[in-house]
């Protein structure tokens, strides 16, 4: 399914032995990915950091459950996606999201100068469009187009059939295409 790197295997072994340096390496290596998914899914940086931290803590506790047949990153994505979707599914969160557009306000790392007005507009539209996707579709599109996971990895992380991943991703892209029509050729 996915190739497992020698580094992963070594790191996992050290994690299982309780090597504290191993855990630090794990966090350093995967912090941006995990935080990125959390931010795209949850919208607020504070909440994303809290969720990402929880992802690593869960991984720390559950390293014994890690099956060596997948990449460590896929395993972390699995934990992160489950955690984010659960948070999003909580009724409290649903109420809080009424009319919320936090994702649209995720700042671009490039401040937009005046001559890049169109680009900033496009980015804003893009982020808003992503934010407006359903949670399930957003999760698939984030994993595929922002994080570059393969269909198989997504299927493994989200515990879905491959066909479900394919169709869900396609629906998500069609949604986005409709909203971004004016920025497309």
């Amino acid at each position: 399914m996915t190739e497992r790197t020698g580094d992963d295997a070594q790191l996992v072994d050290r994690l299982r032995r309780g090597d504290p340096r191993a855990f630090e390496e794990l966090v350093i290596a995967h912090q941006h990915r995990v935080f990125g998914v959390a931010l795209r899914m949850l919208g607020s940086r504070a909440e994303a950091e809290e969720a990402a931290q929880e992802v690593f803590l869960r991984a720390h506790r559950a390293i014994a459950d890690f099956r060596g047949d997948a990449k460590l990153s896929t395993w972390l994505y699995a934990i992160a996606s489950r955690l984010c979707l659960n948070r999003l599914a909580s009724s409290e969160r649903r109420l809080a999201r009424e009319g919320e557009e936090t994702l649209a306000r995720i700042p671009s790392s490039h401040p937009s100068p005046a001559d890049e007005l169109e680009r900033s507009e496009r980015d804003a539209a893009l982020h808003r469009a992503i934010a407006e996707l359903s949670d399930e579709r957003r999760m698939v599109v984030v994993l595929r187009d922002l994080d570059g996971l393969s269909y198989e990895e997504i299927a493994a992380a989200l515990d879905l059939e491959l066909g479900t991943v394919r169709s869900r991703l396609h629906r998500a892209r069609l949604d986005l295409k409709e909203k971004l029509e004016r920025f497309l050729p």
Binding site: V27, E49, L169, H170
Partner: protein, 356 residues
């Protein structure tokens, strides 16, 4: 392949996720359908926009915060955090702590007076200063029988008194007992005046303790009599003596003419209905006459003690027999009533002091 079928595959085509057959079928359709080619182009554009999004970076210090959170917290700190922080939420715990402390203070306060009482007893000189104190009386070997016999009365009280209540004072009295070698062993009975309930209960405790004292006094030489007084718990004793009246041995003891160590361990919760003095020439003869009289009238001698002035008898007779008792008492000696209840009950309780 229809346009609809082809468009369903476009995402997979972009991702290069189609099998060779599917891929050639879609490409064959696209070659003939400009609309679908345009659709593919826009979809590619959308994906390109998505993939152009700058990757997010975790905030600075994230790794350290994760490592800090993963480090096991020592349990006292964990407990502290769990109980006290954050303040607004856990405030009830502080309130509970205050209540606990308050309860503790009250508890200590309540238990301390007993300790103080115990020490006070130790400090008290053997000769009684309060009317309730144990009366030092010259003990006599004969009457030691009584000392052995009477504790059952005290034991009756033991049952009533919680051990926790009497324990401290009892210990105190036991400690004191050795100092009293020269003193007392007799329990004298005088008319119990109206006492507060508390005083009576304390008297009962004392009495119980005095039984222990009396046991130790068997071989002790008489000492100067001091003022005495212990109230009798008449109600109980009445019940007891009606169940098993034992006046004879006591009468014998008194016949021996020796006022003696009697630890009667009886406290009256209620004053007698009638009390008075019977002045006689010969107390022994008077006692014998009295015993016969009580028996004849169907009364019960509940208790007999030796006070500092002479024997004291506690008895119960039927109300109907009371007038005759008075008549007969006049024959025995000079009867002087010190107290008589306005309305006598069916069973009249009488305390009778015989004086010389």
């Amino acid at each position: 392949m229809t346009c609809h079928d082809a468009r369903e595959q476009l995402s997979a085509l972009i991702d290069d996720a189609l099998g060779a057959e599917e891929r050639s079928a879609v490409e064959a359709h696209l070659a003939t359908c400009a609309e679908c080619r345009r659709e593919l182009q826009r979809l590619r554009g959308t994906v390109a926009l998505l993939r152009a999004i700058e990757p997010v970076r975790a905030p600075a210090g994230f790794v350290d915060r994760v490592l800090g959170a993963a480090r096991p917290v020592p349990w006292p700190r964990r407990l502290f955090r769990a109980l006290l922080l954050p303040w607004p939420v856990k405030l009830p715990v502080e309130a509970a702590a205050i209540v606990l402390v308050a309860v503790g203070v009250v508890y200590v306060f309540r238990t301390t007076p007993e300790l103080q009482q115990a020490s006070r007893f130790e400090a008290t000189p053997p000769v009684a200063t309060a009317p309730r104190e144990i009366a030092p009386e010259p003990p006599s070997p004969d009457v030691n029988q009584k000392a052995v016999g009477t504790p059952e009365a005290a034991r009756t009280q033991d049952k009533d008194q919680g051990p926790d209540q009497q324990a401290p004072e009892k210990r105190a009295l036991e400690k004191r007992a050795p100092e009293k070698k020269v003193a007392p062993a007799t329990r004298t009975f005088t008319e119990p005046g109206p006492q507060s309930k508390e005083a009576e209960q304390r008297g009962a405790k004392l009495d119980d303790a005095s039984r222990d004292v009396a046991k130790r006094q068997k071989d002790v030489r008489p000492a100067t009599p001091a003022e005495p007084q212990v109230a009798g718990k008449l109600e109980e004793s009445r019940a007891r003596s009606s169940a098993a009246p034992t006046p004879e041995p006591r009468a014998d003891a008194l016949q021996a003419q020796r006022p003696a160590a009697t630890p009667p361990a009886v406290i009256s919760l209620v004053p007698p209905d009638v009390s008075g003095r019977l002045a006689v020439m010969d107390p022994d003869a008077a006692l014998q006459s009295l015993a016969r009289l009580i028996a004849r009238l169907g009364g019960v001698e509940d208790r007999r003690f030796v006070g500092d002035e002479g024997p004291i008898i506690e008895l119960t007779i039927a109300r109907e027999a009371y007038p005759e008792l008075l008549r007969e008492l006049a024959g025995i000696g000079r009867w002087q009533v010190t107290r008589e209840a306005p309305a006598l009950p069916e069973k009249v309780r009488i305390v009778l002091r015989i004086t010389g």
